[in-house]
Amino acid sequence: MANFYTDNKDLRFHLRHPAMEKIVRLKEMDYRDKEKYDYAPHDFEDAMDNYDKVLEIIGAICAEVIAPNAEDVDLEGPTVTGGHVTYARGTRENHETLTKAGVIGMNFPRQYDGLNFPMVPYVMAAELVSRADAGFANIWGLQDCGETILEFASDEIKQEFLPRFNKGATASMDLTEPDAGSDLQAVQLKAHYDEERGVWLLNGVKRFITNGDAEISLVLARSEEGTSDGRGLSLFIYDRADGGVIVRRIENKMGIKGSPTCELAFRNVPVKLIGERRLGLIKYVMSLMNGARLGVGAQSVGIAQAAYEEARKYASERKQFGKTIDQFPAVYEILTLMKVRLAAMRSLLYETARFVDTYKAWSFIAAERQLTKEERDDLKINTRLADIYTPMVKLVSSEWCNSIAYDAVQIHGGAGFIKDFPVERLYRDARITSIYEGTSQLQVVAAIRGVTTGGYLNQIREYEKRELRPELDHLKKELVSLTDDYEKRVAQVVSAGNNELTDFHARRLVEMAANIVMGYLLLDDAQRDACRTSLAELFIPLAVSENRVRSEYIDSFEEKLLGLYKIG
């Protein structure tokens, strides 16, 4: 029986991270649900066993249903008739299978028929589904919208909408418009309050909306007449059963073809307000986007895993010059580097998920009782770390997912360019990850704060304090010297006092920090499991050479060169 969870030892390894004990205790609020719900865990081991068993179900569905459907779904795609979307046959089967397995609404509280899982196992599930079919992962992953409803909507809205997820309701987040892509402050969709009917009504157009014909949609709209920036926007919830939204067309995309990308026309669409007016973009959508970015991180790791599996399999079967091609240095180097980077980005993904878990759990506890000072500090630290790690993981994993998919095609040679092998689809699917939910360039804009305020550096120095086995010392020394160099370059750029120069070098600096962070995470992994030492041994020299290139460029860069870059 094929199973994407049990066939990849890395997942159980990350699930069993020592930090989970605290995360699960906080999430389960000391296991208080056990008296009330017959499926709630009694203690830490019980909870971990639940995660393991549920991931095993998802792993089986991914390998036996979703992955085998992926090729047909890619070919067939969704269609639009009468203003509504019909999914491809395989998409419907995937969704129905996962719904029956009860794995939608995984991290909602039990009172809303959720499983109350932390982010770590949820992100793992997202990774598994993405490995099976990245396009379908969007439809499944939009249960994220529930998190935003949970955090910001009224009890009435929560009660009305959240339990529907577990029964299979699909969701969408309707943000982008023709003239508001990266710049969401320009959103024009009009919301006005109809005094007579006592209801908010929406009018206008949305574009590039993933799964736009979902049963439940979160819609960003301009509720404050006469405003033109983000402070005039509010977030609304739309129930498809109420009608009014028409799908005008779906885009013909390069990849993730199973996921319908819709253009939507709103005409007097009745909706409900989420939270408070004017906070739509500046508070709620920012939270929604952070969840979505972590989701794309998981999606990228999933696609990269699939690409790596295909490449490894092909290279071990394809014979040239009398032997399988994985015996040639030119090929095994590529394969090993794919594996090493995959391990590094996965460690970064779950480290980020743990920060998110910790701060979210504290926030929920804070809604019930006052936190102690230590607890408040822990909430603050983890919120900050989640904020700076989320764009980092989105940037690194989506870019590397693309290069791993590229390498996987390369290993297939001519066969990789033909549609007969899944790697061709993976290559197309990978391409969107560094674009949507904020392009790589925008992730850098979000991450640079972590560089200039010393956020990354502080955390790196924390990693530095951790005890390691003596045989890992030489690797740590490399990272310490990389950190010193990074610190120097940051100071150099910042002290120039030229914001444009900082923006110019921003990506280089964020990537330098990311390499050091991943180096330490792989050392941590090696400390927990000696078998993983080789991953750190392979990754760290790469990080050293990659950082050196960036460091030397920054060091020798003269500000006046900036002007030359504007010619192009």
Binding site: Y39, D49, N50, K53, V54, I57, I61
Partner: protein
């Protein structure tokens, strides 16, 4: 039909689909220690049919019935994970060594005690491959039976069943009470449900509780009990059970290793395809 009670017959079997060289012992019996114990595949098809009826009609209950050693309780848990309401494990030393006649005797008695309206089982088990137990249970109950079922639904109080036959399909209508055996071509069983797994993972029979040493069980985590019935619970005559109740005698067991003898490799070229067609026509395999 609303409110009916369904019993699903299920068997724990060694997974004979991936047999290695050590699958049989020297004495010709199955080496159960190397083959994982699984839910008999066609019984899973049967369970799916029962669960579909449960979803479609109001107040339907699905009870899993299995006979086997203590560890066969796993089959009941598997059924609960997928949506069955409860289950009964028939377990007793007196059942050991039963052939299909003795097994169907015990199962029929248990079914009588459960008093369902409908019994659904798989067509056959992958260890014995007899396809006898379902029909024998029907005979012993004196109920009608429909075999090779693929799909079923109610029209009024009649069950309409599509049967998969060698050269096509046949649709029949049958009254309750009824025994149906389900073919492997019927829809696959749904996956385990996350919440049900978390709910039932510590459900145990009394015998399991006495023999297991898990900390959770000791800590009283196992609050759900699975029903276990022995010979007395179903009022069976011991003479008709186990070896004494089993007229089937195994005279000899032979290990057969299939070999590719006189095999030919053909390419997809026109010439090869043509020569194959000609050969098959000549020896009247086709035409």
């Amino acid at each position: 039909m609303n409110g009916i009670k369904i019993v699903v017959l299920a068997k724990q079997v060694p997974d004979t689909r991936n047999v290695g060289p050590d699958a049989m012992k020297a004495d010709g019996t199955v080496n159960r220690s190397v083959l994982p114990a699984i839910f008999n595949p066609e019984d899973l098809n049967a369970l799916e049919q029962a669960l579909r009826i449960k979803e479609r009609y109001e107040g339907v209950t699905v009870t899993l019935l299995t006979m086997g050693p203590v560890r066969a309780a796993e089959i009941i848990r598997e059924g609960l994970y997928r949506g069955a309401d409860d289950g009964v494990l028939l377990t007793d030393r007196a059942f050991a060594g039963s052939d299909t006649l003795a097994t169907s005797y015990a199962l029929a008695l248990a079914v009588r005690r459960l008093a369902p309206d409908l019994v659904i089982g798989g067509r056959q088990a992958i260890d014995g491959d007899t396809a006898q137990v379902g029909p024998q249970v029907a005979e012993k109950l004196g109920w009608p039976q429909v075999t090779y079922a693929e799909e079923m639904h109610f029209e009024g109080d009649k069950l309409i069943i599509r049967r998969r036959l060698e050269r096509g399909v046949e649709t029949v209508s049958a009254p309750l009470p009824l025994v149906v055996t389900v073919n492997g071509t019927a829809p696959a069983c749904r996956y385990r449900n996350a919440r049900l797994v978390m709910k039932y993972k510590y459900a145990r029979t009394d015998t399991e509780l006495q023999t297991e040493s898990s900390d959770y069980i000791a800590a009283g985590r196992s609050s759900i009990r699975l029903t276990e019935w022995g010979v007395d619970a179903i009022g069976a005559d011991r003479e008709q059970l186990g070896l004494s109740g089993s007229p089937t005698k195994v005279k000899e067991i032979e290990n057969i290793i299939l070999q590719a003898k006189e095999s030919k490799r053909l390419t997809s070229s026109d010439a090869d395809v043509e020569s194959l067609v000609r050969e098959l026509l000549e020896d009247h395999t086709i035409g």
